[in-house]
């Protein structure tokens, strides 16, 4: 009895520590960032000497990060969804091939994003391309694909084989099982997975460092370099001026709020979409 109580309390302590850590991180960013946060940061691009304490804002990085993360998530979905549906519907669920592909995704997930950045950069050098929004989107898509594919795979694998049998027995093809039934059943889960991938994409600094570059402007085409929030934070934090360092925390606050807004709205949206989902399988 005593032992069980002890273990329960240790587990409770861990849970509180984890929750406390989250509150602490957000607290620090709020306290340090809120004072430096001004409206001009959200609606202006950097003016001359911004990183030395000059006027302006980080609108370029906000727009850049949103474009890169959204574009990359869309591309990652276009690649992962067919792969996952193939693995779970067409290929036999636990066949050697399916397991090999899953293993490949796990390995890809584990590769640090700086390696993707370096890979993207060497491809760009080979092709003679300069850092651009497009290159940033493509490399972040590479970072996101394993995350998204594995997360969607978990959702699709949770769908019982009975559903597939039921649809096949109506004379449906595997394609119809995948795209007319499975997709509906897993849609809310896919949305959550996209969110996870979006969060990873928008927060990644290493992969965009060489590939998206950095600029003080909002890009007008896919082929111009673009600023991103993590790099904006990095550059401001590296400044010797305390005022600019405080702006880094304000930028971090903006990044955190962006991720929160996206995740909360996606959750509300997915609840609506889950209406037709079958629960009692």
């Amino acid at each position: 009895m005593l032992k069980e109580k002890l273990i329960k309390n240790i587990m409770r302590l861990c849970a509180f520590m984890l929750a406390g850590l989250l509150v602490f991180i957000i607290g620090v960013i709020l306290v340090k960032g809120f004072t430096a946060l001004k409206l001009s940061m959200l609606i202006e691009t950097p003016r001359g000497g911004f990183y030395l304490g000059g006027e302006g804002g980080i609108l370029n990085a906000i727009v850049g990060s949103l474009c890169i993360a959204a574009g990359a998530t869309a591309i990652a979905l276009l690649v992962s969804l067919p792969v996952v549906l193939y693995l779970n519907v067409h290929a036999k669920r636990h066949s050697g091939l399916a397991e090999a592909i899953r293993f490949a995704f796990d390995v890809l997930w584990g590769i640090p994003s700086i390696v993707y950045g370096a890979f993207g950069f060497s491809c760009m050098v080979f092709l003679g391309l300069k850092a651009s929004l497009l290159a940033g989107i493509l490399v972040i898509a590479l970072v996101e694909i394993p995350v998204l594919a594995r997360a969607v795979d978990e959702v699709v694998r949770f769908v019982p084989a009975d559903l597939q049998s039921a649809v096949l027995s109506l004379g449906a093809t595997n394609g119809e099982v995948a795209w007319k039934v499975m997709v509906r059943q897993v849609f809310p889960g896919v949305l959550t997975a996209m969110l996870l991938a979006f969060g990873r994409g928008i927060g990644d600094a290493a992969a965009v460092l060489f590939t998206a570059g950095f600029s003080d402007y909002i890009p007008r085409s896919l082929f111009e370099p673009v600023a991103t929030l993590p790099l904006a934070i990095f550059f401001q934090l590296g400044s010797p001026f305390p005022a600019v360092q405080d702006r880094a925390f304000a930028s971090a606050l903006i990044l955190t709020i962006l991720v929160l807004v996206v995740s909360v709205s996606a959750r509300l949206f997915s609840k609506k979409l889950a209406r037709y989902r079958v629960h009692n399988l």
């Binding site: 036999k92 669920r93 636990h94 066949s95 019982p160 084989a161 009975d162 559903l163 597939q164 049998s165 039921a166 649809v167 096949l168 027995s169 109506l170 004379g171 449906a172 093809t173 119809e176 007319k180 039934v181 509906r184 059943q185 209406r275 037709y276 989902r277 079958v278 629960h279 009692n280 399988l281």
Partner: protein, 253 residues
């Protein structure tokens, strides 16, 4: 010689990961009757049922030899395409498995994938098959609600309507009442007794009383072997095999 039975099985052997599950099954299923496959759990009843519409191949470890003839076509002949065979057979699973869409779309799903696009005809079909499954009165005012709001007994009748809507010749039931309450079970059983006038019905059950109530023809499986098969009256009242006699009287189970 042309044999007109919808479904015939010849020397069917199935194994899972080289463990034999069915051995040398040969059976002709009589048309427009209820054939009940009985036997203890794990004797291969469901495996036999799944071999009829090629759902067995979803399991990567399953190997099969022998023939299953549906309308005189060997469905395991190389190059045979399974969708038109599955279309001939409606399946009722142990637990009802509604599709993640509205009640209307569940029934309309089959006709739609087979090319029916006309809205009015689809509406007519949905009404007709929901009536066939005795579900129409309960759902006619909420056809566009999700299928998941229905009770489990209603869901099983919805699955029946969905299966009938693709106009099968054969209905396969894999213990279709095992998840239902007694009242819902009774409604499904009554449905089968009506439907056998137009469909060939094959049911798997381990409930002997249910088998006695429904069966016209009985096949008794034991440890992967077809021990005895014949008209229900013969198998239940004058079994030829000792094992059948013991199973029916409850000595073995």
């Amino acid at each position: 010689m042309r044999n007109m039975a919808h479904l015939q099985v010849k020397d069917l052997c199935v194994s899972y990961n080289s463990t034999p599950a069915l051995e040398k099954i040969s059976l002709t299923v009589p048309d427009r009757k209820i054939t009940v496959i009985i036997g203890p759990s794990g004797c291969g009843k469901s495996t036999l049922l799944k071999s009829f519409n090629r759902l067995l191949e979803l399991d990567p470890g399953a190997r099969l030899s022998g023939e299953v003839l549906v309308d005189n076509e060997n469905i395991y002949a190389p190059g045979t395409e399974p969708t038109h065979i599955r279309r001939k057979m409606g399946l009722l699973a142990q637990k009802p498995c509604p599709l993640p869409m509205s009640i209307f779309d569940n029934v309309a799903f089959g006709p739609r994938i087979h090319g029916q696009k006309n809205r009015r005809r689809l509406q007519g079909m949905v009404r007709y098959y929901l009536k066939q499954a005795s579900l129409w009165e309960e759902v006619k005012h909420r056809l566009h609600e999700p299928a998941s709001v229905l009770s489990i007994g209603q869901q099983q009748r919805l699955c029946l309507a969905r299966g009938l809507a693709v106009k099968p010749e054969i209905i396969l039931g894999d213990e279709p009442t095992s998840a239902l309450d007694p009242f819902s079970s009774k409604r499904i059983e009554e449905k089968f007794l009506l439907l056998k006038q137009r469909y060939t019905i094959i049911l798997v059950t381990h409930i002997l009383r249910q088998a006695r109530r429904l069966a016209d023809y009985v096949a008794f499986l034991y440890c992967g072997k077809l021990i005895e098969h014949g008209p229900a009256d013969e198998v239940f009242n004058r079994p030829r095999q000792k094992l059948t006699r013991e199973y029916i009287s409850g000595v073995v189970s």
